[in-house]
Symmetry: C2
Subunit: 330 residues, 2 copies
């Protein structure tokens, strides 16, 4: 495979002249301005051979949070909707769930109640309602759900609701020799079936919360069976730890949107050499949502302060994104 290298140094020079030829713009869904420039400047600097910020391709690791960074996390995390449907399907075998969170809220369709159970509720809901399935069976379950489920506000498959500007950042980084990873607090196996198709990120570059897995023989063949128990949660500091365990290199770029992403950004930022950290600030109630310091899901409070202190890039969704979704009219 050959990676085409976009001459970003040249591109950047033209950016300051403010007349960008549309055909060569790697970020066409971003409005021109300091946010877009900060991304392109970083990419230009780390890829400029002989430059002070140059980073060898093998070390060009970029990590992306998923919910709220690459697709919406309102009204609740998408995985809650999946888990809610699954819990309802198997609830008759679990009378005890009626009084137990996160199942109680899931069965009642209570989104506020679900939200209150947090990332732990999110991963436990899936783990406990899917215990005993093989890796393949779970994969099919997720694919089937995605094919039929619709986002409650946008009335489209969830996978069509990826943020178009962020898809362009992913593609731009890869075109410049980066390896792009998803690092989500959500369950690993709920992400893997579709991240390659939607984000261009293959299964081996997805990091997420895991369940305890057992190796056994089923029908004469070996099977990997998911037990009904969460093993690791890859939220908050769990993100930095999982990055070390799975990748074994410190990323040079990190993209998030909430305080839960802070350890990942801090870990990325504190390495030597050129680094880039970005937070998506949800400021667009009209096209998406507006929330930050007081949000139940995706709270961005400490992160806003830290970004200012450290000079991280903060995306103002309303100002910086020409369009949010690919299905929007331009």
């Amino acid at each position: 495979m050959r990676t085409s290298i976009i001459p970003l140094v040249v591109l950047l020079a033209t950016l300051t002249a403010a007349t960008l030829p549309a055909a060569s713009d790697p970020l066409p869904s971003w409005n021109d301005g300091p946010t877009k420039t900060s991304i392109l400047k970083f990419v230009a600097e780390v890829t400029k051979q002989g430059g002070a910020g140059y980073v060898a391709p093998a070390e060009r690791i970029a990590v992306f949070d998923n919910d709220g960074t690459l697709w919406p996390e309102q009204p609740v995390y998408t995985q809650f909707m999946f888990g809610m449907d699954r819990a309802k399907t198997v609830a008759s075998n679990h009378p005890e769930w009626k009084e137990q969170e996160p199942f109680k809220s899931a069965l009642a369709g209570d989104l506020k109640g679900l939200e209150a159970t947090g990332v732990k509720g999110l991963v436990d809901l899936t783990a406990l309602s899917c215990g005993g399935m093989t890796a393949e069976e779970f994969d099919q379950l997720v694919n089937h759900w995605l094919a039929t489920a619709r986002h409650p506000r946008f009335k489209r498959p969830y996978t069509e609701c990826a943020y178009q500007p962020m898809l362009e950042v992913l593609a731009c980084l890869r075109a410049n020799g980066f390896k792009t990873y998803i690092v989500s607090g959500g369950s690993l196996d709920v992400l893997r079936p579709w991240t390659e198709r939607v984000y261009g990120v293959p299964p081996e570059q997805v990091i997420g919360s895991t369940v305890i897995t057992k190796y056994e023989t089923r029908g004469g063949a070996p099977a990997l069976v998911r037990l009904a128990e969460t093993e690791h949660m890859t939220d908050k500091s769990g993100k930095a730890i999982a990055i070390q365990q799975v990748i074994g290199r410190r990323p040079i770029a990190a993209f998030g949107n909430s305080d839960g992403d802070l350890p990942m950004l801090e870990w990325t930022a504190s390495g030597s050499g050129r680094r880039f950290c970005l937070l998506v600030h949800h400021t667009d109630a009209e096209r998406e949502w507006a929330y930050d310091r007081k949000a139940g899901t995706g709270r961005l409070d400490k992160g806003l302060d830290e970004a200012r202190t450290r000079g991280w890039t903060v995306v103002d969704m309303k100002q910086d994104w020409k369009r949010v979704f690919s299905f929007e009219k331009e």
Copy 2:
């Protein structure tokens, strides 16, 4: 990056004619015969577009055990030598180790005693003697040890003792679009500092046993600190489970040498489409070692039977390898 594709279909045709032009032979340290042919035939079939065995590049995942498959595991696993040196260095802080395995044997330099503690002893010895170090500190410790330690029989740095024929298999697979992974029962962080340099396998493609890791602040900066406690052991069925957790795809080729590798080979073999499994049989006491069904380290018993039943490739080291190490005279 561009991968040069060796026309193996053509090469294979010439192989049967037994006159192989040296320059185009991707496996020059292998003697001609059915073992070498089985490897090249597999690579030719999965890369032949339109052929019945064709596999898309993204699915070309190959997994390799390390000890006994890519480098020697006698007289004991190399990591035991590292752990023994480390235990001696810090023993004065741990008077209790004198009576506790694997430390007792480590401090006495008792290789037979160490061997008896198995893979659990191996990973615990490292975990417990290196607790509290950061990821970077541990990396430096391993690199420093490797720079000075010598293999007791070959009197060379361990990293010069990689099996030359297996290095050629790794390179041949990568030249044909494969992603190559190490899946070792040994400790992940003992492997990562050198696998790229020696095997061409980057840190993110190494799977091994892990320690519990903590995220904390040291000297004002975030640090990932290794606790003195083993988290996961990636031996036996742990290899198949870790492959699913880290890679998320079933490999199409697996290379091992002992019964501890069987679940990894069985998991690989039981997928659909063309598959390849290989066991290195240590039959060469003169150039390396000869051991199998009764070995303390690297026992290959059930595996020999299973390979026969299932038609897996078994390398007869003495017959199949023209040379074992790159430092041998040809």
